[in-house]
Symmetry: C3
Subunit: 212 residues, 3 copies
């Protein structure tokens, strides 16, 4: 299986996971109608990849040229709209979906950036941006503090997953598929462990907290 | 009249309408000086088109290459700044201006996306993004909930207008001008009817609302 | 010294100043961990330039192709993270750093836009966008009203500095380096005077303020 196909397959899995998650978050956190829910689901699903594609010069972005992206995003968001009318069995699956989207976008974003000729460090950064970008735009629109700023281990697993992918490709390009799979799994595991044990990253001291 | 000229003429009408509307909204909703008012007017007027142009690969965006865009946006915002010192006769004209901007941008955005080779579905999406993008950026900057999420029929008429345009072109490219005019008029009428009768789109159920 | 080198040197100075300032602002204004602080520092430092580069078609943006950008941004943000644990000696240096970033980005942004073939007015606008863009994204993410909207003389000195640069190049391209230096110095002085004497730009009248 070619690495570009792997990246696309991972991307589409992430699109679905983030569309469901984004739409569901919209229903939970704010008062929006079905258009708002669909919009927020689609933005969460496609936003990170669009930013990545604009930055690497892959224009028009895959979200607009590959019909599966928009179709899957809209389908996932619609599904979430109807599921949102069921009782609240869904908090844990939502976190799992979010972690899946985070993991596969970190990896596919980094691989696509490498494929467009970027160096390792920017590729890792763009992998992380792909992973957290859509959710950040959603959070800004519904006026929540973005997860990437507020919740403990969110960007860190994405950066680790992207780094594993990029280093694997640097070591031997033929291992790209394995690098993607291992990177995504490691990102997913760290994210879930962080949620399970409520791990936080160190913070800076603010004025009010400096004791006498 | 060539379709590109029609799209540009509609675009410039939308730029003026949104610049006045954006600047006036800035004065109404927040405490900003003349620079902020001009900035918000220009961003409302040009933001949606810039996002569209970046996504379809029309770089630099028309906003930076066609001098009428920036000139009309700045002029409209300045006009609104001075008009804002008059008494409040202006609420209804503001809603009309906003509906005009919404309608013409939905149509011109979809047509430009088609002209750059995008498929019908992404072209419709980008028409809607062109229509609601500038106002959404403005609302984020002044920390309001974006209209596209909060107000009943806002994105829906834009999507309908863009769809009419795109389907007309798909049926017969020679009808593009008619498709643009009909699409814009239908969008405008639906938006005004929605305002008149205060129509809302269906919403998702949130937890607190689920009955015992 | 070639004008492109001058623009790059100024850009890198601005990247460092804004990275420190952005990270420090993050610590002061909100509750974020080290990842959030680094993210906000890097976004403040690189955001304006990325918007500029996307708009002029310099893709991938310099932030992703020139390794000094990301390295200096990350280094500056890390430095600010550790410095934030010291007592508050730092308010004045922060404002100076912000004024430095504003000044050099206004000038380097306008020059790069000219170098990519944009006309004077859009080049001035993009200079100002480069100068205020990163800080505006940061403020949106931490849910502050952007400085460009709320604080007296912020965008105006950037526009003046960019205008001086652009007019100098229009008069004689061989004077580009001088135009950059004079533009940056004038912008810096106006910004600092505005802070010193607390100058505000004129505002629009809002309803509540219209007297009887």
């Amino acid at each position: 299986m070619h690495v570009a196909e792997v990246a696309r397959a991972l991307d589409l899995l992430g699109v679905f996971a983030f569309a469901v998650n984004g739409a569901f978050t919209a229903v939970e956190k704010t008062r929006v109608d079905i258009v708002g829910i669909l919009s927020l689901g689609i933005i969460t699903a496609l936003g990170g990849g669009i930013i990545r594609d604009l930055c690497i010069g892959s224009v028009p972005p895959a979200a607009f040229t590959d019909r599966y992206y928009l179709g899957i995003a809209a389908g996932g968001a619609l599904l979430a709209f109807f599921v949102s009318r069921l009782p609240r069995l869904l908090q844990r699956p939502m976190l799992v979906l979010d972690a899946i989207g985070l993991s596969v976008f970190a990896v596919s974003g980094a691989q696509k950036a490498l494929a467009f000729g970027l160096s390792p460090a920017p590729a890792i950064l763009l992998g992380a941006v792909t992973a957290v970008g859509g959710g950040t735009i959603r959070d800004v629109l519904i006026r929540e503090v973005p997860s990437v700023l507020s919740s403990g281990l969110y960007a860190i697993p994405a950066i680790i997953g992207a780094t594993i992918t990029v280093l694997t490709v640097a070591y031997d390009p033929r291992l790209a598929v394995w690098g993607a799979v291992v990177g995504a799994v490691v990102c997913f595991v760290i994210r879930m462990l962080g949620l399970r044990y409520n791990v936080d990253a160190p913070t800076g001291l603010r004025r009010g907290e400096r004791h006498g």
